[in-house]
């Protein structure tokens, strides 16, 4: 809740759950202490470039960074701030 309000205040800050298959983004921040430590180990910390390869309906998003695939629960995805990049991939 708190995070979503903050996102709205910032205006335009997007969260990971809005990604669709084939879209690309850069991670701006992860508003979850536990997940942040884990994500940075995977190479998915702040600044990492990701592309969305699967979005399970109402379920997790599967993101690729490099050759690495990571599944991220929908709730957590709402707490990951991103910047969407132009998507070259046709989907």
């Amino acid at each position: 809740m708190r995070n979503r309000q903050r996102n709205r205040h910032r205006g335009g800050t997007q969260t990971l759950d809005t990604m669709r298959r084939g879209e690309h983004c850069r991670i701006l921040g992860i508003d979850d202490d536990r997940a942040r430590g884990q994500a940075i180990r995977f190479g998915m910390g702040e600044g990492a470039l990701l592309s969305c390869i699967t979005k399970v309906p109402a379920g997790p998003l599967v993101m690729r960074s490099g050759r690495q695939e990571i599944a991220i629960g929908r709730q957590l995805a709402r707490r990951i701030r991103i910047e969407q990049l132009d998507s070259q991939a046709a989907c």
Partner: protein, 621 residues
């Protein structure tokens, strides 16, 4: 001022001259550590559950080297149990062999740099060199060696390529180029607590290591991690060249596995196949041979003959040893003729699943359904293991991220998940009745599973964690790896279970001989006969069910039950208390209050559901 000081591991500083004793394998999950371990040691010599956890640590020897395999981790610390176990083993190392997946250096080198920052003597095994070549990933080994400051050896563990070189260069393992920016904070701390490795961990906020050394954990984890991540990216930028984009068939299959439209049928097919293999081939054909032909046909008559030389048939001694629940007859038949083939079949399938990379994809697929039960996708791992053995599943709940999830998953397994031994006995019994009844059994269990989970999700305080897992590439499983993994697990499982089985059979025999069993049957008559409409001998099966769940189900074998009675009996015994072994584990993991609550709920729930089902079936007929 190191108060509660644990013995700091002593480490030889001059690696070449060290009498190299302890070599620890460390690396991310699924990078080939276990294969490297097997290649180095020849075989698995010893498996131990690390004190207090289930995370397995494998020990072996080669010459005068003690070699230890650790659980796969992405970093060392106390983010979860695996990390803590890996950390404590790594802290005892004289040499760390860091196994790195050449296909995923961006991910794996994070741990490498952490080990190097810790000042440990490291040698890197750049494994999966074949896979990297296939995927068009090239790593400049010499440059990587320079940048890290430690030896780097290319290996293909599965074919043994590079293992000799790894062994040869083991003495060259040395502390590499640590981040100099850390020194200002680390050096004074290291001087104070006497270990650079532990000082780094304290700096990264590891509260456990801090407490052991009587110091405060620092809050600089984020900043250390960010700097380390930047160094990893920088190194990878220098050493890595990719020629082709590694997508293709694997990527497409991966997508199909996780999309509900295609993933659910695939999962359904897998479960059906597992049932076919375990429930039909193994449970009836194979077990029919091992139990029926070998054990009942040859072994038991032979043992009865032997025992009758010492004790007269019908005497207490005879009943105890070779009677209906005989310690040397029925128990051995059960262990070797029924449980062994089943558990072997189950672990074989699990190892195949684990090796293929399918399990984490099932986790992603199941995440959505499991969140409504207060769990996340990760819980499929303990739950599926629970289908093998509830005890094993309960221990594995440690991989779950919160106390709340462990609470819910443990209860779900204890109440509504039948174990493989039990499924086998139940399948065998169900084979006698119509397919509708077998379907009814699984439908009833599924409904109860969902109901219990939904209620617990409402009632259990706290918040559950979210899914965040790494999906390993899909691979065709290696048969050698699968056999090695499953055979060690089967061995240790059998070893553990045999004692409980013997104790259980002995207990039942004593109850039988002293007449206590008849007493229980009479006392329980209102429940068994009055409420469940079963014969009064059913009480024996419930008592046995407490010893081992499948023991209980097997108790119904000799009773002449109608199809409806059988269904009621099976549902009730499944919901009824978990076996002694899992009761002990639950007591250890969750405490006595939890256990007491669980026992009361499951016993009353079992009889309530059983009674209602009896009436429902009678109305339907």
């Amino acid at each position: 001022m190191a108060t509660c000081h644990t013995p700091t591991p002593t480490r030889a500083n001059a690696p070449a001259s060290s009498t190299a004793s302890t070599v620890v394998l460390a690396g991310n999950p699924n990078v080939g550590k276990s294969v490297v371990f097997a290649a180095l040691t020849g075989t698995y010599v010893d498996v131990s559950n690390f004190p207090g956890t289930t995370v397995e640590v494998f020990r072996g020897r080669r010459g005068d080297l003690e070699i230890i395999d650790t659980p796969g981790v992405y970093g060392v610390g106390s983010l979860n149990d695996e990390e803590a176990v890996a950390r404590d083993v790594i802290l005892t190392a004289d040499t760390v062999v860091n196994v790195v997946d050449a296909v995923h250096p961006e991910r794996d080198l994070f741990l490498t740099l952490q080990l190097i920052d810790m000042g440990l003597p490291v040698i890197v095994a750049l494994n999966m060199a074949d896979e990297a070549r296939k995927q068009g990933v090239a790593i400049d080994r010499d440059l990587l060696e320079d940048l890290l400051g430690v030896p780097v050896v290319e290996t293909v563990a599965v074919t043994g390529v590079g293992i000799d070189e790894l062994l040869e260069r083991l003495p060259e393992a040395r502390p590499g180029h640590a981040d100099p920016a850390l020194d200002a904070d680390v050096l004074p701390l290291a001087a104070r607590i006497g270990s650079r490795a532990e000082a780094i961990l304290v700096l990264e906020g590891d509260a456990i290591v801090a407490e052991r050394n009587g110091v405060e954990a620092h809050a600089s984890a984020d900043c250390v991690y960010t700097a380390r991540r930047a160094r990893v990216n920088d190194i990878v930028g220098h050493v890595l060249t990719t020629t082709t984009e590694g997508a293709g068939l694997g990527a497409h299959l991966s997508y199909l596995m996780m999309h509900p439209l295609t993933g659910l049928p695939m999962l359904g097919a897998l479960l059906w196949l597992m049932y076919k293999v375990l429930g039909e081939w193994v449970a009836s054909d194979l077990v029919g041979f091992t139990e029926g032909t070998i054990m009942n046909g040859y072994y038991e008559p032979f043992m009865r003959g032997l025992v009758s030389h010492v004790f007269a048939a019908g005497s207490a001694g005879y009943t105890f040893l070779a009677g209906e629940f005989g310690v040397v007859t029925m128990t051995v038949t059960y262990l070797l003729g029924v449980i062994l083939p089943l558990v072997a079949g189950f672990y074989l399938l699990m190892a195949l699943l684990e090796d293929s990379g399918y399990l984490p994809r099932i986790a992603a697929l199941a995440d959505r359904s499991l969140t409504s039960l207060g769990l996340n996708g990760r819980a499929v791992i303990p739950l599926i293991l629970g289908l093998g053995c509830v005890t094993m599943g309960t221990l594995t709940t440690r991989i779950l991220g919160s106390k709340r999830e462990r609470f819910i998953a443990t209860a779900l397994m204890a109440i509504a998940v039948p174990c493989s031994a039990q499924i086998a006995v139940i399948s065998a019994l169900m084979a006698r009745v119509g397919g509708w009844y077998a379907l009814g059994y699984f439908a009833a269990l599924l409904a109860i599973f969902v109901a219990v989970g939904t209620v617990l999700n409402k009632l259990t305080p706290g918040v559950s964690t979210d899914l965040l897992i790494d999906l390993p590439p899909l691979r065709v499983p290696r048969i050698g790896n699968v056999l090695r993994k499953s055979s060690t697990k089967v061995y240790h499982f059998m070893k553990e279970v045999a004692v409980f089985f013997l104790a259980g059979a002995a207990l039942i025999s004593v109850l039988d001989i002293t007449g206590a069993l008849t007493w229980v049957q009479t006392v329980a008559q209102p429940l068994t006969v009055g409420w469940l409409h079963l014969p009064k001998e059913a009480a024996t099966a419930f008592v046995m069910g407490f010893v081992r769940r499948d023991f209980g189900a097997a108790g119904f074998f000799t009773m002449n039950l109608s199809s409806a009675q059988l269904l009621v009996a099976m549902v009730t015994i499944t919901l009824f208390v978990p076996c002694i072994a899992s009761v002990m584990v639950i007591l250890k993991e969750r405490g006595w209050k939890y256990l007491a609550g669980l026992l009361v709920t499951s016993v009353s729930g079992a009889f309530l559901v059983g009674g209602l089902l009896t009436r429902l079936l009678e109305v339907l007929r």
